[in-house]
């Protein structure tokens, strides 16, 4: 009767987006007469932060404060087409569409400002605080608000932009599988420290330590939210969840959260995350997308750590106490492997 410490790791990459019938997203951006912007999308915010990441991308591209941008999604009468929020595509596809739309709107804004300032629009820059000024001459300036009002009431200009980003269809070879599945990949390596009780088969995850390369982290807080929550889901996939615990026997599915087990607050391990940023050449400001991939490395890292702790391989998910006890029995007890901690 002992609790055995184990450490395991896994490394993965993850494709950003999908390859099915082409992968388009659209965005529309327009300003009200006071120079406050609305981004219209049909993308879905599932809690992952689709609205906020679009908002930051739009504000950065327009060169205006983030408070001056709100995102409206998803109404099929006003939001232009988007494939949907899946396949880790939101930030990359929608974000690129927002950039295209926001660039067009910024172009009109700068033209309106140029007309008011009687300068060339190519010489104008934004300060990100609501002002437009001549490059190198901060005193020759106009507010975004004044330029927008001039566009609306004086010049008859529409400060608006349309954007689409399309990854075109890539045919898949029936014979070799040749294809262009996606254009960007995120990466990760994750280490799990856990302990296994050889009496009960219980696994307690003590710590996760990870390095994620996600392109540019467009909003570090939202990245953290994804990585922490995703690892929680990965733990759950590895050790707890399934509606068919004796698959392919289809019985014994849970009917509610009492019967369908997931880790509770006391089961969650601390997670020490390091983020690397290698910008995707075609990503919005280099962003890729941490959405799906952050659950993936946890599953094998847990399985490998269990092997390190007790010397048994469980190749069938989830790794329940029952499976551990049966494997220990077949092996004749725990055989701890080389300590790595």
């Amino acid at each position: 009767m002992a609790r055995h410490q184990g450490r395991g790791m896994a490394s993965i990459n993850y494709p950003i987006g999908m390859n099915l019938g082409g992968d388009p997203s659209q965005a529309l951006v327009h300003a009200n007469p006071d120079g406050k912007f609305t981004v219209a999308l049909s993308a879905i915010d599932l809690g992952q932060g689709m609205k906020q990441v679009s908002r930051q991308i739009a504000a950065e591209t327009l060169g205006v404060p983030i408070e001056d941008v709100y995102v409206d999604t998803a109404d099929s009468d006003t939001g232009p087409h988007d494939m949907g929020s899946f396949a880790s595509r939101g930030t990359h596809r929608v974000g690129n569409a927002v950039i295209v739309a926001a660039k067009e709107a910024r172009g009109v804004l700068l033209e309106a400002a140029a007309e008011e300032l009687e300068v060339n629009a190519d010489d104008l820059v934004t300060d990100g605080k609501g002002n437009i000024h001549v490059r190198g001459a901060a005193s020759k300036s106009i507010t975004v608000k004044a330029a927008s009002q001039a566009a609306q009431f004086k010049q008859g200009k529409t400060i608006a932009g349309r954007g689409i980003f399309l990854i075109p269809l890539s045919n898949v070879s029936p014979e070799t599988g040749e294809m262009s599945p996606v254009t960007a990949y995120a990466h990760a390596c994750l280490v799990v420290d856990l302990e296994v009780c050889d009496e009960t088969g219980d696994v307690k995850v003590n710590k996760m330590t990870s390095a994620y390369e996600l392109g540019r982290a467009l909003n570090p807080k939202m990245v953290e939210q994804q990585l922490v929550g995703g690892a929680w889901m990965g733990m759950s996939h590895a050790l707890y969840e399934t509606p068919e615990p004796y698959y392919p026997n289809p019985e014994h599915g849970g009917r509610d959260y009492n019967e369908y087990l997931m880790p509770g607050p006391g089961d969650i391990a601390p997670h020490d995350i390091t983020v690397l940023e290698r910008p995707a050449p075609d990503g919005p400001f280099g962003g890729k997308g941490p959405g799906e991939m952050c659950a993936n490395p946890v599953l094998p890292a847990v399985a490998n750590a269990i092997f390190n702790a007790i010397g048994v391989r469980i190749d069938t998910l989830p790794i329940t106490p029952e499976k551990i006890l049966r494997a220990l029995k077949a092996q004749g007890g725990a055989r701890p492997q080389v300590r790595r901690a």
């Binding site: 790791m9 896994a10 490394s11 990459n13 390859n19 019938g21 999308l41 599932l46 809690g47 932060g49 609205k51 991308i57 060169g63 109404d75 099929s76 009468d77 087409h81 949907g84 899946f86 990100g128 269809l169 890539s170 898949v172 029936p174 014979e175 070799t176 599988g177 040749e178 294809m179 990949y185 990466h187 390596c189 280490v191 330590t209 990870s210 390095a211 390369e213 540019r216 509606p243 068919e244 615990p245 698959y247 289809p250 599915g253 849970g254 009917r255 997931m262 997670h271 995350i273 690397l276 940023e277 280099g286 799906e292 991939m293 993936n296 094998p300 069938t316 055989r335 492997q337 080389v338």
Partner: protein
């Protein structure tokens, strides 16, 4: 705890941005934390009706008769909907992008193919009345034999689950019963490998378990349109699916959504939108169709089960020279999105490693269970689990530290991937190095100095002469073991074995302790099957008329 390593790849970034890279609070956060954000179910309507469905208690059965007379007379019931009331009662989700055949009814008519399949919908004044009336529907069944295991389902003579796909497999390119990946010659490489390890991995189904269950509220508008408050993960995807099933022009539907209480892939299937809108059409009243928690967990589509059989050839020095992966995706009774998960899986093989010989065979298999759908990491999570446990076993087998083993085999900028595209923007090695450093995991000097930016390309960028084969022609299960042949365009006859790609010279770390041999997994000699006789080509099956928009598909060669 989260920190950045801004020193890495710093010359590839401009970090002087205004808003990007800042942890700004989300515009929707205050609404979420104060409970004021409106989700689909927070839209009240006067005269709202409630829809519930009658579900099959059998995994597989012929429907002899359906008697709804008592249910129609029950208290509060406004309308009973049956399969014949659905304008186009056969659909497949990806028909919107021309991928796959219509194979799934909204309401079952002659047969049920999984336990929980909807047969009749009841619309009543209240949830309770709809549920009470559902119990009064009398369905008479002839139970049929079932199949639940993917490999059993593929055997000749297996129970046919879904008559649209009589072999129990999705048909790829109208030619094969699976999707292939062929890169180099794994058989030749297995013969020269120092060790060959073949292992089987299984991932069971997984429930999305979102806080908000699937649901829709649909209501007639005054302008001959219907407003639809939807939880869909793809707004226009769900709109298009609903329009197709109900034979409506798309602009008669006004979908509103975008704020969803968790999805993880479980809200791509339009489980509730078509029936809710049909209910609104048939009653002229707003209709709410929301899955209860038990319905969602038992009969809402889960992440499907996956089985991956991985066979690797590895050299004593740790280089993997061949990887073969055979994957079985359990679609359940209908296609939904599993056909695409298979393609995504094949594109992901052999993981983030440069391996000169790779073979993949991935099947989308029909069984008598709840149809599977996408879930976070679709097509990748299961095979990543399998590959990374396999990597741990291989490292153990050759006596190399698992982190060193990853770095040794990691893909680098300029390397050719098995799907025949050059890798760029890679960073696997750096992730392993940073994680190792964080936990004080000792790495050799060679591993610490390795870089994604160098050592790739050159000979590692080559596409090797590749053997292809005709295995798995549709309707010809005996061809699953077909003889290999040199791919068209490959100039030279196949050498017995291609030199492995150049990799930096590897040195064992001094602290390493080679582990004991794996107790249950002895390395196996490469088994080379004698090539069976060639087979004549099989004509393609006749085309089936398809509904839905004519667009392009990456996997169907026929354009509609």
């Amino acid at each position: 705890m989260l920190e950045f390593r801004k020193d890495l790849f710093a010359d590839e970034r401009d970090d002087n941005l205004n808003v990007i890279g800042k942890g700004e609070q989300r515009q929707d956060m205050l609404g979420h934390v104060t409970g004021r954000t409106r989700f689909f179910d927070d839209h009240g309507f006067g005269g709202l009706l409630h829809l519930k469905v009658v579900r099959s208690p059998h995994h597989h059965a012929r429907i002899r008769s359906i008697d709804v007379s008592a249910a129609e007379r029950a208290a509060g019931v406004k309308r009973v909907i049956r399969g014949q009331d659905v304008p186009l009662n056969k659909n497949t989700l990806l028909s919107l992008i021309g991928f796959g055949k219509d194979d799934e009814p909204t309401l079952a008519v002659d047969k049920v193919r999984y336990k929980g399949e909807p047969i009749v919908a009841i619309i009543a004044d209240s949830d309770a009345e709809a549920m009470a009336a559902a119990k009064l529907v009398r369905v008479s069944y002839d139970p049929l034999p079932t199949v639940f295991d993917v490999q059993e389902a593929l055997k000749p003579g297996a129970v046919v689950v879904n008559e649209t796909y009589p072999g129990n497999y999705f048909e790829y390119h109208e030619k094969y019963d699976h999707q292939k990946l062929r890169f180099g010659d794994v058989e030749a490489a297995f013969r020269t490998a120092d060790h060959v390890l073949e292992e089987r991995y299984q991932m069971s189904p997984i429930e999305h378990a979102s806080t908000e269950t699937n649901g829709t509220i649909a209501a007639p508008e005054t302008n001959n349109r219907y407003v639809v408050h939807s939880c869909a993960q793809g707004l226009f995807f769900s709109l298009g699916t609903t329009a197709k099933i109900l034979a409506l022009e798309s602009n008669r539907l006004h979908f509103i959504g975008g704020t969803v209480g968790g999805g993880f892939g479980g809200k791509v299937d339009s489980l509730t939108e078509p029936l809710a809108v049909l209910g609104a059409i048939l009653t002229g009243r707003p209709v709410r169709y929301v899955l209860g928690r038990e319905e969602e967990m038992q009969f809402g589509s889960p992440r499907g089960a996956e089985r991956h059989v991985i066979k690797d050839g590895v050299m004593r020095d740790g280089r993997i020279v061949a990887r073969q992966i055979t994957s079985y995706f359990d679609a359940g009774a209908y296609t939904r999105l599993t056909s695409y998960g298979v393609v995504k899986c094949v594109a992901h093989m052999p993981g983030p490693y440069t391996i000169p010989n790779v073979r993949g065979d991935a099947y989308c298999v029909f069984t008598n269970r709840v149809p599977a759908t996408a879930m976070r990491g679709f097509g990748v999570t299961g095979v990543d689990f399998s590959i990374e446990v396999q990597m741990d076993k291989l490292a153990h087998l050759v006596g190399i530290d698992p982190m060193e083993f990853r770095i040794l085999n990691a893909y680098r900028d300029g390397d050719m991937k098995a799907h025949r595209r050059v890798a760029h923007n890679t960073a696997l090695i750096e992730c392993v190095q940073v994680a190792a450093q964080k936990v004080n995991w000792p790495l050799s000097e060679t591993a610490r100095r390795a870089s994604s930016l160098s050592g790739g390309g050159g000979p590692r960028a080559a596409i090797p002469p590749t053997v292809t084969d005709e295995s798995g022609r549709i309707g010809r299960p005996e061809t699953r073991q077909a003889p290999p042949q040199l791919a068209p365009g490959a100039a030279a006859p196949l050498p017995a074995y291609q030199s492995p790609p150049a990799v930096p010279i590897y040195q064992l770390p001094p602290a390493h302790q080679p582990g004991a041999p794996l107790p249950n997994h002895p390395s196996q000699p490469a088994a080379v099957a004698p090539p069976p006789a060639p087979i004549p080509p099989v004509p393609n099956p006749p085309a089936t008329p398809q509904h839905g928009a004519a667009r392009f598909s990456s996997v169907f060669t026929r354009r509609r």
